[in-house]
């Protein structure tokens, strides 16, 4: 029990539970399957990005360029399927390939320049963004082929009243990718090596782990999820715009940090990240459902971030003090 209460996820879950109870009793719409499905579908993009960011943060890195990667993937994917046709599989494949490629460019630069990934990815963000704007001239894309714009539901179920609840492909991807990531991080050697790398980089090098390979994996994986997520995003909103995703870098990092990942590397869990995303989603939903003017959303989110990071820092400080105590004779 004491172990559970020490974990960050526990407190996060408590906060979410409190919010859920509040919303369940004060509004009729919150605790309905329809609302929840819709809510998590609209946050599936943030969720998928967060999964990629989690891996980067665990490894001790950071990536600010993934939004540009995602947007470039969207544009290339859309252009190809509009001009040459194709199918969903091809759309996701294009997104994934572009994402991995741009992610690996980050990995390459970070490994060989050996400067802080924050700075490198700010540079690549601008490079990608400039190229994107140059080639697309900032044009929006919305004339998707019919097969792309029809609803993509994995399955649909009906309740006794005959209401229909679809599980969209985007929502399905969100959940399935989280499960896959949890598996990778817990049960594969490469997942554990990512933790090891974030925990002690020098030791990982001495152990003979392939640091370059791991760096490529981490940033390539971030790119992969940015690519897949961007196609899923296009499926939901049915438009591709240059500024729809770019600029949201810090929102994603905020969600993952709320979920307990540390910017120092080495820590963070899939469950925590899921809860972090869920918290952000529920707050936005709460604001709408409780009829609070939507301007309050950012204030609430900002306050929660400030309080959460402050409590973490304060606890760390207290722990350090406690460790220094002497058992006076």
């Amino acid at each position: 029990m004491s172990k559970i209460t020490k974990r960050n996820e526990f407190y996060l879950a408590l906060v979410i539970l409190a919010l859920v109870l509040l919303l369940t009793f004060t509004t009729d719409q919150f605790m309905t399957l329809g609302n929840l499905l819709e809510l998590f579908t609209s946050y599936s993009f943030l969720g998928i990005m967060s999964a990629g960011m989690l891996v980067v943060l665990i490894s001790g890195g950071i990536d600010l360029s993934f939004t540009a990667t995602a947007t470039i993937s969207q544009y290339i994917m859309s252009t190809v399927i509009i001009e040459h046709g194709g199918n969903l599989f091809l759309a996701f494949l294009i997104g994934a390939v572009i994402g991995v490629a741009l992610g690996c460019v980050n990995g390459l630069l970070i490994h060989f320049i050996k400067k802080h990934p924050l700075i490198i990815t700010i540079a690549t963000l601008n490079i990608y963004k400039g190229l994107l704007m140059y080639f697309t001239k900032g044009k929006w894309i919305y004339n998707f082929p019919l097969w792309f714009s029809k609803p993509h539901d994995i399955f649909i179920f009906e309740n006794s009243q005959g209401d229909i609840f679809p599980i969209s492909l985007s929502l399905f991807l969100f959940f399935i990718l989280f499960i896959i990531l949890a598996f990778i991080l817990q049960y594969t050697k490469i997942g554990r090596k990512v933790y090891a790398l974030g925990g002690n980089r020098e030791a990982a090098r001495r152990m003979g782990f392939n640091i370059f390979g791991l760096t490529l994996f981490v940033y390539g994986f971030m790119g992969l999820l940015a690519g897949i997520g961007s196609v899923s995003h296009a499926l939901i909103v049915q438009t591709v715009a240059p500024n729809a995703i770019i600029g949201k870098e810090l929102d994603v990092i905020a969600a993952v940090v709320l979920g307990g990942a540390s910017l120092q590397g080495g820590s963070g869990t899939v469950l925590g990240t899921f809860l972090g995303v869920a918290l952000v989603a529920i707050i936005s939903n709460a604001v709408i459902l409780m009829g609070i003017p939507s301007y309050w959303y950012e204030i609430l989110l900002g306050t929660i971030i400030v309080i959460s990071v402050s409590i973490t820092a304060y606890n760390n400080k207290k722990n350090m003090q406690r460790e220094a105590e002497i058992d006076v004779a």
Binding site: K189, I190, A196, A203, F209, I326, D327
Partner: protein
Amino acid sequence: MEDSPSYALKLKNINKHYGGVHALKAVDFDVQTGEIHCLVGENGSGKSTLIKIISGAESPDHASEIFIKGKQYRALSPIISVEAGIQVIYQDLSLFPNLSVFENIAISEYGEKRASLVNRRRMREKAQQAMNKINVKLNPDKLVRELSIADKQVVAITRAIATNAQVIIMDEPTASLSKHEIDELLKLIINLQKKGFTIVFVSHKLDEIMSISQRVTVLRDGDKIGTYQAQELDERKIEMLMTGREFDLNQSTDKKITQKTVIEVRQLSKRKNYKDISFRVNEGEILGITGLIGSGRTEVALSLFGMNKPDSGEILLEGKAVQFKTNYQAIQAGISYVPEDRLSEGLILPQPISTNIIVPILDRMVNKMRIFIKEDVKTVVDNWVKDIGIKTKNPENAVKTLSGGNQQKVVLAKWLATKPKLLILDNPTVGVDIAAKNSIYEIIRQLAKEKLAIILISDEVPEVYRNCDRILIMHRGRIKEEVKASEISEKVLNEKVIGGVVSV
């Protein structure tokens, strides 16, 4: 080319050049199976280079010969070296704080390419077997972050065992351990030897070397001075072999302690830190405080320095009661504190020597508009660089470009520049060469002659014994005993300090 198999490791004619530097000069080095062998030398003597060659991290020059268990190698690579049963445990231990004990011990599983999935059950068994092999018990599921330094050391050793190492090389394993923890470690090493492991111990702390090793190899400036049976050596002889010089190891005499009390502490107490601490230090006196790590020495010192507010009791500086809210106030009042950890607390390594010297007195280097007076800064810096003998071409160079001994001189210069009445030194010679150590002692004695009151906190009994007039032995937050250095022998003092552990 035959070689006796009773040697676990034999190196012949090892040369290594780095650019123009001849780091190792035709060194022969051998380790017998099952022995504890010490490799000693000052910083820069070539011992790290030799270890790097054995671990395969560096290749020796042409015509060097390496034999492991009788098999000859031209050069090693990290993989060859590990496969041949050699494991190096570096000073920082190279553990993963965010992973569990068993994952750390069996971490080499992750490097193997056979399968891509983790087999936790097998890793756990492997870790348990390794722990059983050397009779240690640790909770396999605990995160390494939550362990004490000594237990981390145990994990690192167990990890070496788990990779089937037969020769374990430990680089400065005792550097960050307390006396008690060192004793525990030495016991573990002797135990390893009994189980048939061969141990190479790299160190520059001398007393621990003597207690457990069979043979000692001394390096100096890239030359091998010789390999000796441990019984033939005493501390003094090793010092001489390492440095090529003899040092005065006698107690300091010709002191001029005056009757004027600089600092007096009465009944100082702080919860979970220390209790009922009372002492006084006069002008020209060196007071030693020793005791094990965790005895509260540093906490008391920090209280005098305004960085650890006491709960009760009095501090009198030259007869007047003082209460410092910050260390800035303590510095202004004339108290200086040289922290134990030079690299993280004592110096700002990347910044210039000049800046480091003036940090504590930035406020005294400005005019009324709080703007630096360039000439004042230059005068202070130049004077101190000269006075204390910091070897540098340009005081604008970063401190990190200096050797350990010169870095410690910068620390002393910086604190003396504050013109203190009381200088507190917390383990001032940790990680410093013997030669530099002695020059620091000389500076300290000289300062006492110039009527500075000095408190010298140290782990090393010989250090306080040789330099101090009176010595306080602290144990679990209290002063256990006060002794006069002139009325006691070093051996008795040592027993009193260690005795603290037994009498718990």
